[in-house]
Amino acid sequence: MKKMYLLLGLMTAVTVPSIGSAKLILDIPPLVVQKTDCTPYGCTQCYPGCPDPCVKCDPQCIAYPSCIAGPCYPTCADPCKPCTPTPTGGLNDTGITAKVGNTGQEDADYGRDKTVQDTVPSDGHAGFSFTKLDSNGTALAASATSWACVKDNVTGLMWEIQANPSERPWFNSDNSKNGGNAGNENGGANTESYAALANTNKLCGASSGWRLPTIKELLGIVKSSSTTLAVDQNYFSGMTANKFFWSATPYAADPASAWAVKFTTGSTFGLYYKTETSTISVILVRTAN
């Protein structure tokens, strides 16, 4: 048996060089091209066929100036970056990575928290992927110390960030969406006017679309692996402990109430009276372009 393996090994050793030499021959033409026509371009190394023949390009990436040398990802939203995976199809994962047992059936055994091994989080805890934005909506580095909005790369939502989130009563004048109770107009200082002001002020470069999140959207940023402060503080810096945040979703069982998320525990509750002028804070969201 051992002898046979040895023989096979020898045969492979003999074949490999011949393949190698064939490759070598194929490699020659590009070298010839480089040697010939560079003088007209005024550079020692040239790349005919590229928009600037003195700058190396990847033929597949010619359409994307900022990553013309490659690699590029033509099917992605940003063709110069790998696509953001959406394994849960628009839902954020929970952020839970700890298991109680070894059944293979727990939260931590599935989803983006498992597939994105983010031991040194570059874009948010576990499977979360956030990008900080400045007041014009321009993307900032994760290390930025000042930012105005956060884009959620998994859900595609853009969130307002405030160091001290505003506390306002819930108000929605649209009778088809307010559960049969508009809430508390509060002399113009309410959630609806707050969202309108964000549009007027072009918060993070966006002059439309700012609104209260639905309860499902608000739950999306909850980091369920913590029950003391259930949100990624590296991005949602103003959402400190003891804060409740409004959703736009009315509470079906009681027209005077709306759903809110308690970020101390990360759970949703629908028992908050729309008339509350303090206690419950506002965070705005919009669907990013």
Binding site: I96, K177, G180, A252, P255
Partner: protein
């Protein structure tokens, strides 16, 4: 004419709400529906094109009947489970290849909340898609950091709560990734 229309609407409501004594309330004209894109299949599955998740139409311990769109208690099968017994239910569905799939699992808490229909309560779920049963509270597979509780949703009002892994007995809904 108006009276007739009202009667028709009430009759429809009664059929949709099944024959249970308690009646679901839906605020369909003042609250935007959040789960009306769900599509129910005659094989006992529900397809969600937004989340790319597929659900079983009935909780564990119930069998789906496409003839009358109901969930009937399955003889000899429990419908309330401790958390660890809940985590064993996907194994049963996968061994029998429910709807020809072998990747059934429990939903995490956000996935479970994605089928809450906030337009309604008693229960806060689309009863045409997920027919009425005796099950109100449903486990997620998301444990709390204390490792002795897990998140669940009581679909009567749809509040998110947590309960003891060892002592709570709750319902189970299975889900699978469609990709």
């Amino acid at each position: 004419m108006q009276i007739r229309i009202y009667f028709f609407v009430i009759a429809l409501f009664f059929v949709a709400g099944s024959s249970q004594a308690q009646q679901q309330i839906c605020k369909s004209t003042t609250i935007v529906a959040s789960t009306n894109h769900l599509v129910g299949g005659s094989d006992g599955t529900v397809t969600d094109s937004k989340t790319k998740l597929m659900w079983k139409r009935c909780p564990e311990g119930f069998n789906y009947s496409s003839a009358n769109n109901t969930c009937a208690a399955a003889a000899g099968t429990a419908s309330l489970y401790t958390w660890s017994n809940a985590l064993a239910r996907p194994g049963v569905a996968n061994a029998t290849k429910f709807a020809n799939y072998e990747n059934w699992r429990l939903p995490n808490i956000k996935e479970l909340q994605s089928i809450v229909e906030e337009q309604c309560y008693n229960p806060a779920i689309n009863l045409t898609i997920f027919p009425s049963t005796s099950i109100s509270s449903v486990w997620s597979n998301s444990p709390l950091p204390d490792a002795s509780n897990a998140w669940y949703i009581n679909f009567y009002f749809a509040e998110m709560l947590y309960g003891s892994l060892s002592s709570e007995n709750l319902g189970v809904r299975l889900v699978r990734d469609m990709q």
